[in-house]
Symmetry: C2
């Protein structure tokens, strides 16, 4: 059945990343009707980035033949610790920001209500509402890409913690004295299963004299390696890549089990670039390992699913946030 | 200032364990005025255990020169998955129970309102209210004894999860392919840092020819090893025991950091027999390692504390539960 939409009922979702800004315009039923993308250019400083966010938003709205007046508000996910109530980014290492009033600055530029949340939290919210109909009461989102982020919904609400930094799933230690992580620690989940971790292991193996067709597909340094390249290599019979990806899937399975044992959620959602590209190769291993390690009772009624929203999880969650707040 | 107590305002807390039942009578300000203890005798079946719980409760009340009529209700913590609303133990492996209506059965025997929760959850509640004045909004309790249990309070409420099994902190994997755990998995926190884990490592070292004065203090098999023996051995200069206890403290530090990074709580409380006996030897290492591994922002405002309630954390939490429910 087609959705009947009043012309002033649209929501805008924004996903602010370290390298790009994505904005999308959504109907009240969360259908995306237009998008726009710009590079972030974080090096120009927060004021310049805010101008670019505003431009991405107005571009997306214009793309839909609408104007700002047709929209009810903007929901934005930022990579870092976010104080939702104050509308401030507390710190965002990827952007180099510390205590910046994003909500106020963006409202000034757009003349629309703005709501700010952490990017992984907002992506979890997008999946929960758009794909799962808002049903799961307790949901954990695991987003595996360059890094690994986590979104936590408990009792139907985002859990941000005492200092708005909850959900650092990527820095859960799974293997004491394991490989070094970008954060300085060793054995973090992110250092074992992110695209960066997979890339580092393959590169080390190549230096060690092992063979992979990735060096033919790309170059010896494996520059610009993407998750899709890993999938292609495996499908062409590359045993090294297959092994490394399978090992990463095992660690993701362990992480799923740890989170299930701690939070006992209804749903654990897997997303991000690595999962999107390698679902067929990884998902079976992830669920098998996860169920192996879960305590009795924890897996009863637990759904482990992948999101089909891909890169749109964040902007979808942004629209959900506006819809929730303006109810 | 002395507490003015009406003679019918007392609460009873019960800690139901695999080997013993402890009951305590509390004033409205949570002062314990009398206790009683019985062995559990789980092998006699749930009906017999319920009779023994009722007896422990009436013994404790009698000890205080009170009668059941002077009490408002009973709060009980059970070791396993508990459905608080239904008042049922869903399963409790240490007792061999599956789906047993503890609340109904105990109310029948005592003619008092009964409230049932998980034992580690209730212990966390006891610490939060009795020692911390109910202030922390987000609190995680880690109880290290024969096993390792966890209690989770988020937004001031116990988090039990979708199937009432949340908080399985002891079965978080910290070292893939680490030592075998009683649950069948490898590398669980419990298999690395519980009294059982410490005991297993010392016993293996002794078999391997290493020396410890524990074999003089006890016997070659180290039967009946208690946490207090470990403390005595370290204070007499036992290097093996010192090393094993320090290693366990490191793992506890890692677990604290993992939980802080995931939940971003206000307080993490450490309790249980191992912590009570070895606080001086372990606490410094635990906090140092935990802070080393925490993400920026997570440790801001986080208090890591030990509980002084010892074995009384559970019964205190039981009294808190009744007080909360009958408000």
């Amino acid at each position: 059945m087609a959705e009947t939409i009043s012309k002033n009922d649209f929501f805008v979702g924004v996903d602010l990343g370290g390298t790009k800004i994505l904005a999308g315009v959504f109907t009240p039923a969360l259908k995306c009707i237009g998008k726009s993308k710009l590079t972030t250019k974080a090096e120009r400083g927060p004021e310049a980035v805010l101008d670019r966010i505003a431009r991405t938003v107005t571009d997306a709205i214009d793309e839909c033949d609408l104007s700002v007046k047709n929209c009810k508000g903007v929901g934005i996910g930022a990579p870092g610790a976010v104080d939702f109530e104050a509308g401030r980014v507390i710190f965002a290492p990827n952007l180099g920001w510390k205590d910046f009033p994003v909500q106020k600055e963006l409202e000034k530029r757009l003349d629309l209500p703005v709501f700010l949340e952490n990017d992984a939290n907002i992506a979890a919210l997008g999946v929960q509402e758009r794909e799962l109909g808002g049903k799961p009461r307790h949901l954990i989102g695991i987003f595996v890409g360059t890094g690994i982020g986590g979104g936590i919904i408990l009792d139907g609400k985002l859990h941000s913690g005492a200092g708005h930094t909850a959900g650092e799933i990527g820095h859960m230690i799974l293997e004491m004295d394991g490989p070094k992580c970008g954060c300085g620690n060793k054995g973090c989940f992110e250092a074992l299963a992110s695209r960066t971790a997979i890339f580092n292991r393959i590169q080390a193996a190549v230096k060690d004299g092992q063979k992979t067709i990735l060096t033919d597909m790309l170059d010896d340094k494996l520059e610009n390696l993407r998750s899709g390249d890993l999938r292609k290599a495996i499908r062409r019979g590359d045993k090294l890549v297959e092994q490394v990806v399978q090992d990463a899937a095992q660690y993701i399975g362990i992480a799923v089990s740890n989170l299930a044992n701690l939070f006992n959620p209804d749903v654990i959602v897997l997303g991000g670039g690595v999962i999107a590209a390698l679902e067929e190769e990884m998902f079976g291993i992830i669920t098998e390992v996860a169920h192996d390690y879960m305590m009795p009772g924890v897996d009863t009624g637990l759904d482990i699913v992948t999101t089909k929203l891909g890169d749109d999880a964040g902007i979808t969650g942004g629209a959900v946030l506006v819809r929730q707040q303006l109810k």
